[in-house]
């Protein structure tokens, strides 16, 4: 009988001890973050959406079309279209497509990039209404000068060395629009130019817009790549 009593006393004491801990807890500041309202502080090396840097000083596109990222990608989600320019005999980037639906965000492409062009940004809100919209082309991938300088500073990447001399005028942000126009001038690329503009602002999730703009962009790039192959 006394054994039962001591056991009961002990049990009640233990339960009360647990309850006290819980009660003290309810007075503490909540540790949960209410995500859509307060964004979590992300470290600079967070592996989010992939993007392409421009030179923070000169606004030149940093990609040299070496295709190392394309080769190292375990998911084969990067597709680079480039051609050899007849004048300078150098590789010129035409298009850079990343299928974020396939990407597993391992960050290997960013490690092998010799010019620190492709980086993981802190952006992770990429939800969209169609699979096609997850295929980002060069316009959607390229960061602005301000964003690039932010990531260069945050990730502590050394700034790219200035080129010794400039044989030709510095390439604009998206050579895809500037260059292939001379081969086949059709109305299509001009159309996408105007339509793709809103996509540059980083995370505007407007379903209706993205849907309509995704389709012409794809057909456009398709024709371009076939053009390139036929060359």
């Amino acid at each position: 009988m006394s054994n039962l009593l001591t056991r009961a006393k002990d049990s009640i004491y233990q339960v009360l001890r647990g309850l006290k801990t819980v009660a003290v807890h309810s007075l503490r500041i909540p540790t949960t973050k209410e995500y859509p309202d307060t964004m979590p502080p992300l470290p600079p090396h967070f592996r989010g959406r992939l993007a392409l840097n421009v030179n923070p000083e000169t606004n030149e596109h940093l990609c040299i079309s070496c295709r190392q990222c394309e080769r190292v990608c375990p998911d084969k989600c990067i597709e680079i279209t480039a051609h050899k320019s007849p004048e300078t005999n150098k590789l010129e980037l035409i298009d850079f497509k990343i299928d974020h639906g396939l990407c597993m965000f391992c960050g290997l492409c960013t490690e092998v990039c010799p010019t620190d062009c492709i980086i993981n940004t802190n952006d992770f809100e990429m939800a969209d209404y169609s699979r096609e919209a997850l295929v980002y082309d060069i316009r959607k991938l390229t960061l602005t000068q301000g964003e690039s300088s932010h990531y260069f500073a945050a990730k502590e990447i050394a700034l790219p060395k200035p080129k010794p001399a400039k044989p030709v005028a510095s390439a604009p942000i998206a050579p895809s629009i500037a260059k292939p126009v001379e081969t086949k001038t059709e109305a299509k690329p001009v159309e996408t130019k105007t339509e793709a503009k809103p996509a540059e602002t980083k995370t505007e999730t407007k379903p209706a817009e993205t849907k309509t703009e995704a389709k012409p962009a794809e057909t456009d790039t398709d024709t371009k790549s076939t053009d390139n192959e036929s060359k």
Binding site: S11, V15, L42, Q68, P74, G107, L108
Partner: protein, 376 residues
């Protein structure tokens, strides 16, 4: 409780019941085919393979550099350990030197990962027992802090890709070490909190004491490793019995189960292990040397010499082995994983037979099986 049921003379037909693969308490997709006599389990057949992702085959079809990014998926709760096992096996073949700072960083992140893995186990185990304490509440608060630290050093919360062949990927900043110190300073108090709520709680004691007794000989026969076998009182921890890395230089103890190896012993073992890991993190921080972090250049065409290598390390679930055959190219010729969860799961039927159905989850939770680790 079970004895009461067995002494009644009620005759019932045996019934076959499928538990899982979509059962919330089976920690993934395990299917248990139970043959029940009333409430008593007469026969158990675990059906595995629902999560098979051909990890070994994928490793043989990717370059070593690419496969390193995928290893964390073998056991997603202890990605650092799977990376470490693979790196050890490859370094054994290649014979490259690992700088001391990389060694200490490896031990540091591994012990942090051990704590985070045990914390998730604690949460899910108590959910299995029916307590609201677990899953989203107390242990997950500390786990979030650890995952934030991992995110800062490796880039992601669970798919780290941090430990590489030859060293580690990134040298953390001094501010990161300060954050780890802050965590280790307050963590023992947090464990005290869990223990105040759970350890001596009469309901938890009723559900765990004397339930699922894992006999020493049975445990050894089945090749059970990790805290499950240490709960039975067998001192088998590779960090002590076959030391690797810098563990011989560190001072720690192996907690053992005090009773006969029941569910409560395995629970206690893990709680004490978390305290030891916390202690180890502090030691690593104190002894952290300066210098290089990788003895091998991390390039896309990473190659190792031809040969065979096997490494075994102590993961939170037990002995994790990795066997690699390399023919000198940038791909491995053969990769083989020895997963602790797979071997620990084998002992489940012998623990469950003769127990009521309500004990299944208590016993299953206590041996800490991660299904991706079983199926890989």
């Amino acid at each position: 409780m079970s004895t009461n049921l067995e002494t009644t003379n009620l005759k019932t037909d045996e019934m076959i019941i499928n538990m899982g693969p979509q059962h919330p308490a089976t920690h993934g997709v395990l299917r248990l085919i139970l043959k029940l006599d009333g409430e008593i389990v007469r026969h158990v057949e675990p059906v595995i393979g629902h999560l098979h992702r051909a990890q070994e085959w994928q490793g043989q079809n990717r370059t070593l550099f690419q496969y390193q990014a995928l290893i964390d998926r073998v056991d997603y709760l202890s990605g650092m350990f799977t990376s470490l096992a693979f790196a050890h096996a490859c370094e054994q073949i290649d014979g490259c030197q690992i700088p001391p700072r990389a060694q200490y960083l490896r031990a540091l992140v591994c012990e942090m990962n051990r704590i985070s893995s045990h914390l998730l186990w604690l949460g899910t185990f108590l959910i299995d027992l029916g307590a609201l304490f677990g899953f989203p509440f107390y242990p997950f608060r500390e786990r979030e802090k650890l995952l934030d630290l991992f995110e800062e050093i490796a880039g992601q919360r669970m798919m780290f890709n941090y430990i590489r062949i030859g060293g580690v990927q990134r040298d953390p900043k001094p501010s990161w070490f300060e954050k780890v110190r802050k965590f280790t300073a307050e963590f023992p108090d947090r464990i005290d909190e869990y223990e105040a709520i759970v350890t001596q709680n009469p309901i938890v004691l009723k559900r765990t004491k004397g339930v699922g007794i894992l006999d020493k000989s049975v445990a050894m026969d089945y090749g059970v490793t990790g805290p499950s076998i240490r709960g039975s009182g067998i001192n088998y921890d590779l960090r002590k019995t076959r030391p690797y890395g810098i563990y011989p230089e560190l001072n720690f103890e192996i907690p053992l189960g005090q009773n006969q190896g029941d569910t409560w012993d395995r629970y206690m073992c893990r709680i004490l292990e978390m305290r030891q890991s916390n202690n180890l993190i502090n030691q690593c921080l104190d002894k952290m040397p300066e210098g290089e972090i990788s003895g091998k250049k991390q390039i896309a065409g990473l190659r190792i010499k031809a040969g065979e290598g096997f490494s075994a390390i102590e993961s939170p679930r037990g002995v994790l082995g990795c066997y690699v055959i390399s023919n000198g190219s940038d791909k491995a010729y053969r990769i083989r994983w020895r997963n602790p969860s797979f071997c620990n799961l084998a002992v489940l039927p012998s623990l469950l037979i003769g127990r009521p159905i309500s004990d299944i989850m208590a016993i299953f939770g206590s041996i800490d099986v991660i299904l991706p680790d079983v199926d890989r």
